[in-house]
Amino acid sequence: MVDPAIILAGVLNGLLAGGIYVLVAVGLTLIYGVLHIINFAHGSLLMLAMYAVFFLWRLLGVDPYLALPIVIGGAFVFGFVLYRLLIGRFSHGKDENILLITLGVSIVADNAALLFFGGDTETIAVPYAGEIIQFGAAFLPLPKVVSFVAALVLCAVLGLFMARSDTGKAIRAVAKERQGARLVGIDVEKIFAISYGIGIGCLGAAACLLMPTFYVTPQSGYAFVLVAFTIVVLGGMGSFLGAAVGGFLIGVTESLGGLFLGEQLGQIGISLIFILILLFKPTGLFGSKA
């Protein structure tokens, strides 16, 4: 029997990682909820944002946490422009087509990263990386705790924005009923681009919060894309609450899977959850009936 303290530490570590997953998944679920497209490039765009954080630190010495506003803003603009120039033009045809377009984006992004940045694993050695916080019997790395709190704060900010601001209301209106939204004078195409931009902006934030404790390689995108889809499918496509709950569940699953099954086999839990949810409860935990 494994020591309960180790299990507790595993659960806490999983929750901490889950906080960042929530941020990644909220972006994906927002794009799905508003645009009804499956953004297969989500992982690859996260990878690009992680490289942005890495190079800001390496070339300009910007601390990943201080880079938050820059990277979020940059990612938003990148997503907005990507939607306007490319994805928006194809997003209203068959849904496999848009999936193939975003697959194309991810192939180009992954290989451009490999071509320009090389295949090495890059990390950021922040001075506070080794700091530890004691929480009961568990010792938690300070950067993970900071990232966790920051991720929750950012999700709350996004939630407030969606609930209170005019743009947020317009986004929700478009997600619910795009014809009706158009009739009351909302520029639907612009809202689509803004939503995609916000989705990618979430990735920018996640990248800043990940880099102090994680690494980036050109393959990082692929590693994250299945995790992100699993969370969103588990929570229910398009549901914010689902993305939040799913993010924590997957974080804990991954952590405990690694603990009990080992580093290699532990990853299997995520793919299995994904398959089982799609097969037996495709609406997820909080999704509406499609």
Binding site: L100, I107, Y222, L226, L265, I268, L278, L279, P282
Partner: protein
């Protein structure tokens, strides 16, 4: 079939047969890979093109095929030729299983694509973790270059074998365009509800086509393992192979007989062209990503502007008509 098309086919066949006698060895190897890619592309095309069931995880069948024959040989001492049908049977069985599960749950479109990706990932992790695949170390097949071992000293034989596989896959696709089974698949692709209303057993037909596709793709996996005599979890089940099969078919023309072959020819040319560019520009030391970037851009352009792939250009020029899914 017009005389022009028949003439082109005869010419192409004859050219492919004498080709290895005319060119240096490395060009034989490139053409061998081209036919092989066209073959596994066709296996994707059978289910993804003709039946419209886009898959992101066909590597699962490729890997099952490669591992089945390799394990039978290395661990159980089977002859490679005998192991080949066994790996096809396994590939078909896995295709049947995935299809029954996914289509019973009513998964379509993007959801089906994503679940196939997840299945490939599950198999990759399993192959990495369980004992009988030797985990991440991969498996080596003992080199013993005799034809009865499915290993050839002279690369000309592996070239002809790849060419033969490609021909067989073209014949299967051709049969699909003229059989009732193929017609039912096209009906399902175009409108599933309408197909059901016509009395087509949509579920059974989709299971059948994924079984066939899985068996073909597994045959490709064994071929690959015999050519390189080595297999590991990411070669076998990684996303690269899945994407390759999808790419050649989409680029060439999904749901057409010659689409995967034309796509494979086009991608081979791009590959060699980027290799040539890279040798001229010393800063580009890594060729692989450059050609994949070109593939990715081509995929987007094809989906956006030329949904029937390069085949439709070819068909319009040669056959004098616009072909909407041959």
């Amino acid at each position: 079939m017009t005389p022009l098309v028949r003439g082109l086919l005869v010419f192409g066949f004859a050219a492919a047969v004498i080709y290895p006698f005319l060119v240096p060895n490395y060009l034989v190897n490139i053409a061998m890979l081209m036919f092989f890619t066209a073959f596994i592309g066709q296996s994707w095309n059978i289910s993804g093109g003709f039946a419209g069931q886009t898959s992101f995880g066909h590597a699962v069948f490729f890997g099952v095929g490669a591992y089945t024959s390799t394990i039978l040989q290395v661990t159980h001492g089977w002859n490679a030729w005998l192991a080949w049908p066994a790996s096809m049977a396994m590939g078909g069985a896995v295709g049947c299983m995935i299809a029954m599960l996914s289509f019973r749950a009513g998964l379509k479109g993007s959801y089906f694509a994503l679940i196939t990706l997840a299945f490939a990932e599950v198999f990759r992790i399993l192959a990495n973790s369980v004992g009988f695949t030797r985990g991440g170390l991969g498996m080596l097949i003992k080199a013993d270059q005799r034809p009865e071992n499915f290993q050839f000293k002279d690369s000309i034989w592996i070239y002809y074998l790849a060419f033969a596989l490609c021909i067989v896959s073209l014949l299967i696709a051709w049969q699909l365009t003229r059989s009732r089974f193929g017609a039912r698949l096209v009906a399902i692709r175009e409108n599933e509800d309408a197909a059901r209303a016509l009395g087509i057993d949509v579920f059974t037909e989709k299971v059948k086509v994924l079984t066939l596709s899985g068996a073909m793709c597994a045959a490709g996996g064994t071929f690959y393992a015999q050519k390189y005599l080595y297999i590991d979890p990411s070669i076998a089940f990684g996303i690269d192979k899945s994407v390759e099969m999808l790419l050649v078919t989409m680029v060439g023309g999904a749901g057409t007989i010659f689409g995967p072959l034309i796509g494979s020819v086009a991608l081979t040319f791009i590959n060699e062209a980027t290799r040539w560019v890279a040798s001229a520009v010393p800063a580009l030391k890594n060729v692989q990503p450059l050609s994949l970037i070109v593939y990715g851009i081509m995929l987007m352009l094809i989906v956006a502007r030329l949904p029937d792939g390069l085949m439709s250009l070819f068909a319009a020029k040669v056959l004098g008509r616009k072909q909407r899914h041959a």
